[in-house]
């Protein structure tokens, strides 16, 4: 087990290195989106085209040999020296530090709500198969999986913001984090993220619970006179939690990361998603890179935790023989 965790940890490091190498390769291969804008600006002010190009490359460190740049890049990422954000005139790491609380503010409640609701609904619908509630749960799962997050966010703004005036149309950062205004402006984004996460969760939870609903030991428990509620929690939920816990970590995280990106753009929440989006619009390469790498690292970490959790929770799986990776 310890060996497996160590191997898995090493694997995560390799994967991280691969991500960094890939992004570096892309950066080298692509024309720098910031360069043309800068050069065009300089040329308009009367500078020589070639000179403007060279000065830009020097300022960016793009004139050094590729291997040296590659080393600097890896060292920079590892030492949290993520560069300077041109568009915000501050170090990238500071921009991220100001942004992330806004993302967590609604993503954490959404994750919590969707986990509890998703497992509860999935479990209920597995134990009450073909009931009206089961069909309602399936409908919810289909609805949540099919509705585009960004469009749902727009519709919520249209209905509850414009027509009913229940939620504010613009996100305000000048209000206290613990205030009614803040709760009101975070309600809709939380709902959007929670819905897409809940949809996946319900499907998985239902499928996982179904494996055990008709198992022999459930029949034995029933014959013994175990009440339905206890059967559901002790005999179905417990074994089902093993596959579920793994899904909870990595897959949900993936859904939430993507969903929150789009939701922040629509609602104007100054979290990591909007930071990244603005960086893209303004051609701020270091900031784009950082805001793309950050969720990637989070996802890699989530995958690591998922596999470790799986190994720790499922006593049937023996990883002793698999030190091969």
């Amino acid at each position: 087990m310890k060996r497996y965790v160590l191997a898995r940890l090493a694997w995560t490091l390799v994967a991280t290195w691969l991500v960094l190498t890939l992004t570096f390769g892309l950066l080298v291969a692509a024309p720098d989106p910031g360069a043309s804008a800068y050069v065009a600006g300089q040329v308009q002010e009367g500078a020589d085209y070639e000179e403007a190009r060279e000065s830009y490359e020097r300022a960016r460190g793009r004139d050094a040999p590729v291997l040296e740049r590659y080393r600097n890049y890896l060292v920079g990422v590892a030492t949290l020296d993520w560069g300077w954000s041109e568009s915000r005139s501050q170090p990238v790491i500071e921009a991220i530090a100001t942004a992330w609380p806004y993302s967590v503010m609604y993503a954490a409640p959404a994750l919590l709500v969707s986990t509890v609701l998703g497992v509860a609904i999935g479990l209920y619908s597995a134990t009450h198969r073909n009931s009206v509630e089961d069909y309602a749960a399936s409908s919810l799962a289909f609805f949540g999986a099919s509705i585009p997050d960004f469009w749902f966010a727009i519709v919520l703004l249209l209905v509850f913001g414009v027509s009913l005036d229940w939620i504010p149309l613009y996100f305000r950062t000048d209000v206290s984090w613990v205030s009614w205004t803040n709760v009101r402006q975070l309600a809709a984004p939380t709902l959007v993220v929670a819905l897409s996460a809940t949809a996946g969760e319900v499907r998985y939870a239902r499928a996982a619970a179904l494996e055990y609903v008709n198992a022999e030991f459930i029949k034995a428990a029933k014959a013994k006179g175990v009440p339905p509620g206890r059967r559901m929690v002790r005999h179905v939920l417990r074994p089902a939690l093993v596959p579920l816990s793994t899904i909870l970590i990595a897959d949900l995280l993936g859904v939430v990361l993507v969903s929150s990106y789009l939701v922040e753009v629509v609602f104007g929440i100054p979290g990591l998603g909007l930071l990244s989006y603005r960086a893209i619009v303004q051609g701020d390469v270091p900031l784009v890179l950082a805001t793309v790498l950050l969720p990637t690292f989070v996802a890699l970490l989530g995958n690591l935790l998922q596999d470790v959790a799986y190994a720790a929770l499922d006593p049937r799986i023996d990883y002793g023989g698999r030190e091969g990776r």
Binding site: A145, S146, P148, W151, I154, V288, P295
Partner: protein, 420 residues
């Protein structure tokens, strides 16, 4: 999702069971197999035609009527995808009506999925034929914010009202049945052209995914050993990355082009399919009919072509159908973020265009949004029903009921995690 899986379809023509299909045997005997050859010829023909169009001197349109239109390489890719889809999806069903009837009987149990199939037929018709009838949406700022027909808005909303102004309200006209965007593009034309983009992204990408995923999966299963290990480790790496953010980075650096988007999606999202095909192939390989064929002297290539790939194709088709909605959503998301192809009209891009005008012009974001939602929902329903209809284990009665299909999800997931 109602009713029990009926076994009656199987007994429809009892005299045919066990009969030898000599036609197939004969067809397979002589030299080059006919269907792959025909598909290859068609694809090469399309490639030649598109290549000629791309390098043809003069910038004139390919067709002048009913609307002037010039064929692009993407159109060629799309037509080739449709040819492959017909040859390997629709034709086998036509050639084998008994099988088709059995699948249909099982598929029909899902009433919602049947409706969804009609929706998708409509979407395909609009996407393929629509651009031939409707002119491309053009920017005309003078006619911005026109309301849809049968709808009226205060006449201050549009710059100048095309329709009649009644009591200070601008009424929609049939010139723009679904209204216009802020810069005067007709919503109807935008939705029609957006449908084609969504279809192209969904279908071409899914075809690439199926081709690469099936090849890698079967090769890994057939070769075993080091090859298998290497391929599956690569799949692990590919699937660990949150694809959304890598696409975001690639599209940002290289600019949004629809062809690039399709290629990037296609060649990086086949991991799940490959895993699925590999595990299915490994299971099937141990079954009686494969062992019998091997004992009779069949080569590995023959086993793969005749027994293994056809028998995992149901799983692959289901998997691809469930991939398509995700791909369409992904394209719409990137178009919404402004990272899509600036040269094409996409649903996501129109939704983004109307985002700032919700209070005055609801139709801009709402109408393409409904189209997107309906298409994705229909695809999800159809994919779910296909999973039940094509899963041979459901037919054999090993599974109690169609609704239990989810268990294969977790089984597959558990399998995936264990290989790590």
């Amino acid at each position: 999702m109602t009713g029990e899986p009926d076994g009656t379809g199987d007994e429809a023509e009892p005299d045919r069971i066990g009969a030898i299909d000599w036609e197939t045997v004969d067809a397979d005997d002589g030299g080059v197999p006919r269907r792959p050859a025909a598909v290859l010829a068609a694809v090469l023909g399309i490639a030649a035609a598109v290549g000629y169009e791309a390098f043809r001197s003069g910038g004139g349109p390919t067709v002048a009527w009913p609307v002037a239109y010039r064929v692009t390489p993407l159109d060629g890719l799309f037509v080739a995808t449709l040819v492959v889809g017909v040859a390997y999806g629709a034709y086998p069903l036509y050639a084998n009506p008994r099988l088709a009837r059995r699948y249909w009987a099982r598929f029909r149990e899902h009433r919602v999925a049947v409706w969804s199939l009609w929706v998708l037929a409509g979407v395909c018709a609009v996407g393929v034929l629509g651009p031939l009838v409707v002119a491309k949406p053009t920017v005309e700022v003078a006619v911005g914010y026109q309301p849809p027909a049968f709808w009226s808005v205060p006449s201050a909303v549009p710059g100048s009202c095309v329709g009649p102004v009644v009591d200070g309200a601008c009424r929609g006209t049939w010139q723009y049945p679904l209204g216009t965007t802020g810069d005067g593009r007709g919503i109807l034309a935008s939705v029609v052209y957006g449908t084609r983009v969504s279809l192209q992204v969904g279908l071409i990408t899914a075809t690439i995914v199926v081709l690469v995923g099936t090849t890698v999966g079967t090769v890994a299963a057939a070769a075993g050993g080091r090859v298998d290990e290497a391929l599956m480790r690569y799949v692990d790496v590919q699937m660990t990355f949150p694809a959304f953010f890598l696409y975001l980075f690639v599209l940002y650096l290289f600019g949004g082009s629809l062809v690039l988007l399709i290629l990037v999606f296609g060649f990086t999202s086949w991991g799940g399919t490959a895993r699925l095909v590999r595990s299915e192939t490994l299971q099937r390989r141990e079954e009686g009919y494969v062992r019998a064929a091997r004992a009779a002297g069949a080569s590995t290539g023959w086993l793969l072509r005749r027994h293994l790939v056809p028998n995992v194709s149901g799983t692959v088709i289901t998997n691809a159908t469930l991939l398509v909605p995700g791909l369409i959503l992904l394209e719409a998301s990137f178009a919404f973020l402004g990272l899509g192809d600036p040269g094409v009209t996409s649903w996501g891009e129109v939704i983004a265009a109307g985002r700032g005008d919700l209070a005055t012009a609801w139709w801009i974001s709402t109408i393409p949004g409904v189209a997107l939602f309906a298409t994705v929902l229909a695809l999800n329903f159809v994919g779910d029903a296909l999973r039940d209809a094509l899963d041979p284990r459901v037919a054999s009665g090993a599974r109690g009921r169609a609704g239990d299909r989810g268990s294969s999800d977790t089984a597959e997931r558990a399998d995936g995690s264990e290989t790590r």
